[in-house]
């Protein structure tokens, strides 16, 4: 990931919010991202309620930063990914942040619900580590290098 075509992003880290309850997954994601790029700032919340708290802190002068991309695990304790997604897409400012839904399930009703709630894409976590790493690398390449993300205004 050395070619960034003069994109401004190479100068500052991208802020990604990872909502994931499984520390194993958090660590795996960190491991993969660390191996490939140091240009992203990963904030982690471990359940749905914590995610909503995070957004609430944005709304004032909390120390949390506005994420430019959200990676959301669907299956979380307390409030699950669907509820977090619903809250995000209901909020005038938050709704512009692209949300990548990661799910362990291929159950199609999960997938349909996510798109109905406004997910930008839904991905299933592959069991194979190499495939998982490939997927994360592709996320990084696509969402951070190719996609024009909306300009983040602070609250």
């Amino acid at each position: 990931m050395t070619l960034t075509f003069g994109h401004t992003r190479e100068h500052r880290a991208i802020n990604i919010l990872l909502c994931e309850d499984n520390p194993g997954d958090v660590r795996l994601i960190r491991e993969v991202f660390n191996e490939t790029a140091a240009r992203l700032e990963l904030s982690v919340v471990m359940d749905g309620e914590e995610a909503l708290d995070y957004f609430r802190c944005l709304d004032g002068h909390g120390k949390t930063e506005m994420p430019e991309l959200i990676i959301l695990d669907l299956n979380m304790p307390k409030k699950d990914g669907r509820e977090v997604l619903r809250e995000i897409k209901k909020n005038r400012k938050l709704k512009r942040i692209p949300v990548i839904v990661l799910t362990a399930s291929e159950a199609e009703w999960d997938i349909d619900t996510c798109y109905e709630l406004g997910a930008n894409c839904v991905l299933t976590k592959p069991i194979n580590l190499d495939q998982f790493a490939d997927m994360l690398n592709t996320i990084e390449k696509f969402w951070l290098d190719m996609v024009k993300l909306p300009k983040m205004e602070s609250f």
Binding site: L28, E31, N75, T103, A104, E106, A107, I127, N128, F132
Partner: protein, 370 residues
């Protein structure tokens, strides 16, 4: 005496006798008259008598008539009485009949009520069974969800970290350690495939679509297109009869063909390209399909077992990574049964197998396109 005198005398005599005679005649006449009078009187008396008799007869007859009339009246009265009795009897009969009819009606109503109650009970039972079925379907779906989701996450952890271990410490590991890691990740992979298969199996019932008109030839083509990799790899030749349009679940019929043809390809003889033929027979109530191969076949003792979930006749390694988990035929059975049909096979080791299944013919199903 002169003649004259004599004559006179004679005339006198004659006259006298004549007078006498006349008298006698007169007397006689008088006598006759008297007699006649007597006679008339007698006749009168007789006539009177007759009239008396007649009168008596009349009165007798009248009495008789009266008596007769009386008898007649009596008879009539009797008749009327009898009639009345009859009417009453009829009425009673009618009443009885009505009562019978009423009783019968009541019985019928009671029977009807009983039937209704029974039907209601049956309905309730049916509803309960439906609810139970729905419940068990929902549970199955829940199970599928749990298995696809919650079980896969820890499984992914095992597989991923074993692999990370291998990736990062490869150089520090000896051959044994690498073998162990291989078995661990292989097991995790297989388990994941089995979980996916279970999910698919549970979805036959819970995710089945409503029946529609299905062109089975198109369904077969779809299946063959999904199998094209292994068809090309094994250089399989596949032929089919003209196949009919049936009533069923399009994607499930396609899956049925895919599993059966997939097996026919997979269980072909080593080093031979498989020959597979799909045919159909129109029966009175159903279509009987068959998928025939010239592959390795199997012994009769396994005919039932292979339809049980995760039952296979070969080791995991023998038919490679594409070997499958042994769920294919279990899914076939579930699909066929959901359609109200039956699945079975004929086979001989070394000679090949023919798998048969029936799908009931619905009204309006088109004929085969011959």
């Amino acid at each position: 005496m002169s003649l004259e005198a004599e004559l006179q005398e004679k005339v006198n005599f004659l006259e006298q006798t004549h007078f006498a005679n006349m008298n006698i005649i007169d007397d006689l006449n008088a006598e006759r008259q008297k007699l006649e009078n007597y006679q008339r009187a007698a006749i009168n008396i007789l006539e009177d008598l007759n009239s008396e008799r007649r009168k008596m007869e009349y009165s007798q007859r009248a009495t008789f008539n009266i008596l007769q009339d009386y008898n007649l009246e009596k008879a009539r009265l009797n008749d009327i009485q009898t009639a009345a009795i009859n009417i009453l009897e009829d009425f009673n009969l009618g009443k009885n009949r009505m009562e019978d009819a009423q009783r019968a009606t009541i019985n019928i109503l009671e029977d009807f009520n009983l039937e209704k109650e029974r039907a209601e009970l049956a309905n309730i039972e049916l509803q309960e069974r439906t609810d139970e079925l729905k419940q068990s379907n929902a549970e199955l779906e829940q199970f599928a969800y749990v298995s696809s989701h919650d079980l896969q996450e820890p499984l992914r952890m095992v597989a991923s970290y074993v692999q990370l271990l291998e990736n990062r410490y490869r150089d520090q590991l000896d051959d044994d350690a690498r073998d162990f890691i291989h078995f661990a990740s292989d097991g995790a992979n297989r388990m994941q495939i089995m979980i996916k298969d279970l999910l698919q199996y549970s979805r036959v019932g819970s995710r089945g679509k409503p029946f529609e008109s299905v062109d089975t030839e198109a369904a077969l083509l779809q299946a063959l297109s999904n199998l094209r990799l292994s068809i090309n790899e094994k250089i399989a030749s596949i032929s089919n009869d003209p196949l009919p349009t049936i009533t069923g679940d399009r994607s499930q019929i396609s899956q049925l063909f895919q599993n059966l043809v997939g097996n026919a390809i997979k269980f072909g003889k080593q080093g031979e390209s498989p020959f597979i033929h799909i045919s159909v027979r129109k029966q009175k109530l159903a279509w009987q399909f068959s998928v025939e191969d010239k592959g390795i076949g199997l012994a009769r003792e396994y005919f039932e077992r292979i339809f049980v979930i995760f039952q296979r006749l070969h080791g995991y390694d023998k038919f490679g990574a594409a070997g499958g988990t042994g769920i294919g035929l279990a899914i076939c059975k579930r699909i066929v049964e959901r359609h109200g049909g039956r699945i079975w096979l004929e086979s001989e080791p070394g000679k090949g197998s023919t798998f048969y299944f029936t799908i009931p013919r619905a009204e309006g199903d088109g004929g085969s396109r011959q």
